[in-house]
Point group: D2
Chain length 140, copies 4
C-alpha cells in the first residue's frame, strides 16, 4: 500500500455548511472517492468490476472527526486494506490536511461483493482478477 499515491483534492464550496466547515457527511463520500482512486491505481477501475456484473455494496461506515476542513483546503487520503478474505473487504482511511499535515478525520468502511441481484459472491473462485487486486494490497 506504500506504493499508492494518496488521493488528493480540495474542499468544494458546496461541501461547507453554516458552521463554515466541511459538512461531516461529505467525509463518507470522500472515502468512496478514495476507494475509486485506489482501484484506478491498482489497475482495476471500478467500472471494470461493475462491467463484470460485480457490485460492492457498503455494509458499514464509521468516521471520527479530529479537525475541521474548510473551503479550499487541500485534503489528502491514504486508504489501507485492513482485512480481505474474498467475500468481505475492510478499508480504513486517514484524511489529512495537505498543507498542515494535520489529521482531520479517520474512519473505515466494510463491503461485500454481490452480483447485480445483490446475491453475495466469492471473488477468490469466480473472479480471481478482482480477488488479486485487493489481496495484493492487504496491510501486513
Amino acid at each position: 500500500m506504500n506504493s499508492l499515491i494518496p488521493y488528493k483534492r480540495s474542499v468544494y464550496y458546496y461541501e461547507t455548511d453554516k458552521m463554515g466547515i466541511m459538512h461531516h457527511s461529505n467525509y463518507i463520500r470522500i472515502f468512496e472517492e478514495t476507494r475509486v482512486d485506489f482501484l484506478v491505481q491498482a489497475g482495476m477501475p471500478f467500472e471494470q468490476i461493475e462491467a463484470q456484473g460485480v457490485l460492492m455494496p457498503v455494509l458499514s461506515v464509521e468516521c471520527r472527526y479530529k479537525h475541521p476542513l474548510r473551503f479550499g483546503d487541500m485534503l489528502e487520503v491514504r486508504p489501507h486494506i485492513t482485512k480481505f478474505n474474498g467475500t468481505t473487504l475492510h478499508v480504513s482511511y486517514e484524511i489529512h490536511n495537505s498543507e498542515t499535515g494535520e489529521l482531520c478525520a479517520e474512519g473505515s468502511s466494510s463491503h461485500c461483493f454481490t452480483d447485480t441481484n445483490m446475491k453475495p459472491i466469492r471473488t477468490k473462485k469466480n473472479y480471481p482478477d478482482i480477488y488479486k487486486v485487493f489481496a495484493d494490497y492487504i496491510v501486513q
Copy 2:
C-alpha cells in the same frame, strides 16, 4: 393546478453553505422533489411511470434567486405545467418562504420522455395514461 397542495418541507442543515444560506444547487433538487410530489398528487407516482419503462430526463433547468432560505425555514413550492405536447414537458416553479410568504426563487425545467435506452417516445399514442396526467394540469 389550483387543486394541488403546495409541496412543503424545511431546509436541512446540510443544505446550507458557509454563507449561512441554502446552497443554490439545492433549489434544482427541490424542483425535482416538487415534480415527484405533483405526480403523487396527480395519481401517477413517478415509480409507476418508470415501472412502465418510461424515463423523463431533464433537458434544461433554470433558476433565479430572489431571497435566501436559511436552515429551518419552511419552504413551499407551487409547480405549473406551462407546456406539454406529449413529447416535451415544461414545468415552472415558485419557491416561497412559508412563514413570510416571500418569493425566494423561481425557475423552470424541461423534460422529454424516453424508453430505458434513452430513445424518445410519444406518450399520447403509446402511454395515454401518462399523457393524461400532464395534459390535465396544463396551465390555461
Copy 3:
C-alpha cells in the same frame, strides 16, 4: 423517548445512485435530519441553540446497512439518546422502511457542545435549558 413521533420522509430521486438504491452517505444526513426533528419535538429547535451561540459539532458517526431503501420508499427513524453528561451526547438511530417495517440501517453519532469559536462548553452550568432537553430524553 417513547413519546416522540418517529421522523418520516420519502427517499428523493437524487439520493439514489447507479445501483438503484439510496446512496449510503445519505443515511448520515438523515441522522442529522432526525436530530433536528427531535429538537423541534423537544421544544428547543436547533436554531434556538445556535441563537445562544452554542454549536454541536459531530465527533463521530457510524452506520450499518441492513437493507436498501429505494426511490419513493417512506423511511421512518427513531432516535435514542444513549448517553449524555452535559458535555458529550450520544444518539443512536434505527431507520425502518415505513411500509414493510424492515430495519434498513442502524447507527449512531456523538457530539460535543462548543461556543462559536469551537471551544468546548458545559451545558449543565451555563445552558441549563439546553442541558434539560437532552437529559430529559436519556434512554433508561
Copy 4:
C-alpha cells in the same frame, strides 16, 4: 480566457442516480467548482475575495443537458466571462467529456458582489484588485 487550463475531474459514484447517469443538479455544482478553479488560475482565490469581506451570491443559473455523463467519465469545463461591469458578473460554461470531446452540457450563471450583510458593492471603486481579475478575462 484562452490561456486558462480547462477544469477537469471525473464523475463521482455518488453523483450518479438510478438512471445510471450524473444527476442533473450536480452540473450546477460543477459550474461552481469551475469558477473557484478560474479564480485560482487568475491569481485571486475565492478565499482571498471572502477574506476581504466580499461575497458573490448567485443571482441565476441555467443549464441545458446535451449528453449524459456517467460514473468515471472525465469531464472538462471551459468558463467564459461574458459580461462584467463591476457590479454584476455573467459566466458561461461548456462541459465536455474529455475522452470523446462530446459537449455534455452548457449553461451560465450570474452573480452580484455584496458585503457580508448581503448589501451590493461596486468592485471597480472599492475593490480594484477584485475588479481587475474579472475585467481581464471578459470575452471580447
